[in-house]
């Protein structure tokens, strides 16, 4: 009989809420960790774009105007991303409802760089916070964030006495349960500041989903009844005014925002917005200077109320677009280890119940779900990178093909995982999928070498080398886990 203490109650809460929300949180953290480097991943997914480029030439901006115009004619809201430390080329982009699709342009000449179409790194960003399901997905992810805060608080209460003594304890060669528990604690306790911060800021960003201004009933109705599309329908006789020369407007905007602080130029139907770059400071102000299509200054928008300031700080902390490459790496490693924390929690939940409930259908279902998210999703992410390089460049709907590859692999892995669990061979399912993931990630560097134009064995560290190396290391870790499963 388990004594009815606060610790025991918190243990129950930690296990059950942790498992149920953990299945979703793993997806949120894997994709969020990848989204830290969304710009760099887009560069990896468009290998034809050179890793370095000359400085921006004013004339190049005006050379892009015909392409901007053609997107405006299609009813899109295009924007030009100016070259930055993270991406040396000009990019003409638009949001297709899920991802930001981009076409790169040379910053010196303004010529379009011929490259493959891709979903880009923002695919992971969209998956991270909407699960590709719009407001329904945002609400789910926000509630998962609240659950995470609950699970963290209960975890701290359970482990309060041993929080400091167990900080550095790791016994990988002890019994399997002990080893996974050590991994779980080691991946949790030192990263508590990071996880609390990400869960809190992430939930705060979408407070309206958790505490909507209208009733939950009307929100649920809105979710169930599809609303008419908000994007403007394409019409052949759409009128787009003559686009003005951009450099004079850019320099005028820089007088307000600061030289080098304009990150993008957004084209709306009646105004052109010069937006402050998110890299310019900890507050994600989204400050902008607006001009009309006949080059007249319209307004300068900077929201400074206490509430918007709080929102800007939270967004700045969550997105970390201002901290430089070092900070992004810190977020990436912290995000990876937090994923390990949640993954090890799911595994511990299953391990503790395997003896008593291993034959139950519910247990098999839980293990199938765990396999689908813990191995299936990473496998699908690696598959997307392979698909990007293997789908022919001239494929008619390349972007959809990449998305199809991603979801097909994920579905296949989930099917395989569930089948393995229902025929009572779960370890084989884990093992085979882990080995498949290892093969894809270890082989990614070779694929990159074979399919990237201008590949050289020795070159300065670039996004390509970083992606290949990280994938290689993940492959080795996955292989080691598969090996120890036997």
């Amino acid at each position: 009989m388990i004594p009815d203490t606060l610790r025991a109650r918190m243990g129950w809460l930690h296990a059950w809420i942790g498992f149920l929300s953990g299945l979703l949180l793993v997806c949120v953290f894997i994709t969020g960790t990848l989204a830290v480097f969304d710009t760099e991943l887009t560069r990896w997914l468009q290998p034809e774009v050179p890793p370095t480029a000359a400085e921006l030439n004013d004339a190049a901006l005006d050379k892009m105007l015909p392409s901007v115009r053609s997107l405006l004619l299609k009813g899109e809201k295009p924007f030009i991303a100016l070259p930055s430390e993270r991406d040396p080329v000009l990019r003409l982009s638009y949001h297709d409802g899920h991802e930001v699709l981009t076409q790169p342009f040379a910053p010196q000449s303004g010529e379009q760089i011929a490259t493959r179409q891709t979903v880009g790194g923002t695919f992971f960003y969209d998956l991270h916070y909407t699960l590709r399901s719009g407001s329904v997905g945002i609400t789910l992810v926000s509630f998962a964030g609240l659950m995470l805060l609950t699970v963290l608080a209960s975890g701290v209460i359970i482990h309060l006495k041993a929080l400091i003594p167990d900080l550095l304890v790791l016994r990988p060669f002890a019994s399997r349960l002990r080893a996974w528990l050590d991994v779980h604690v080691l991946a949790s306790v030192p990263f508590l500041p990071f996880v609390f911060m990400m869960a809190y800021t992430g939930t705060f960003l979408h407070t309206r989903s958790v505490l909507p201004p209208e009733s939950y009933v009307s929100l649920a109705k809105e979710m169930l009844v599809p609303s008419p599309s908000k994007s403007e329908p394409a019409s052949p006789d759409r009128q787009v005014p003559q686009l003005p020369s951009l450099p004079p407007l850019l320099h005028a905007a820089e007088k307000t925002l600061g030289v080098g602080r304009v990150g993008s130029i957004l084209f709306l139907p009646d105004t052109i917005l010069f937006m402050r770059t998110d890299a310019s400071g900890p507050l994600r102000t989204r400050e902008h200077v607006d001009f009309s299509y006949d080059s007249r200054f319209v307004r300068h928008i900077l929201l400074t109320s206490p509430l918007t300031r709080a929102q800007q700080v939270m967004e700045g902390i969550h997105y970390i677009r201002w901290g430089g490459a070092g900070m992004r790496w810190l977020y990436f490693f912290s995000g990876s280890i937090t994923t390990i924390m949640i993954a090890s929690g799911l595994i511990l939940f299953l391990m503790k119940r395997r003896k008593t409930s291993g034959d139950r259908t519910l247990f098999q279902l839980a293990e199938g779900l765990s396999i689908s998210v813990l191995v299936g999703l990473p496998l699908a992410c690696a598959g997307l990178l392979w698909g990007n390089r293997l789908i022919p460049q001239g494929h008619e709907s390349r972007i959809n093909a990449e998305i199809l590859v991603f979801f097909s692999i994920w579905m296949a892995a989930a099917f395989f995982g569930f089948s393995g669990c229902f025929i009572k061979k779960p370890f084989e399912a884990w093992k085979i999928l882990l080995i498949a993931f290892s093969l894809l990630t270890v082989g990614l560097g070779f694929l990159d070498a074979l399919t990237r134009p201008g590949w050289q064995p020795m070159h300065a560290p670039t996004v390509f080398a970083a992606v290949d190396l990280i994938a290689f290391c993940m492959g080795l870790v996955s292989l080691q886990i598969a090996r120890r499963l036997s």
Binding site: L168, P190, F191, G326, L330
Partner: protein, 93 residues
């Protein structure tokens, strides 16, 4: 700065692990005795790291300081586990 702060945390946490009786028992380094003056670096190193981070950029200082602590903790724990395993294997041989 991130690298220096990470190194300082690694030194501090390594001293902490080496001086902790439970960690010594787990790893089999029971006879390890650190001189008293070394102990002071458990505190000096993180505080120096915080001062260096704040000196470089106040807005990123706390993020870098805490982030490097977390990653250094994992590295020291993995290093300590590897060391104890190596000692075990040597004993068996």
């Amino acid at each position: 700065m991130i690298f220096i702060c990470f190194l300082l945390w690694t030194v501090s946490l390594s001293i902490q692990a080496a001086s902790d009786l439970r960690m010594q028992r787990i790893s089999g380094f029971e006879k390890l005795v650190l001189p008293r003056w070394v102990m002071i670096f458990r505190w000096i190193c993180p505080l120096t790291g915080l001062w260096l981070c704040a000196n470089e950029s106040l807005s990123t200082a706390i993020f870098v300081w805490l982030g490097t602590f977390s990653i250094a903790a994992v590295l020291v724990a993995v290093g300590w586990a590897t060391g104890s395993r190596w000692k075990q294997i040597r004993k068996q041989v």
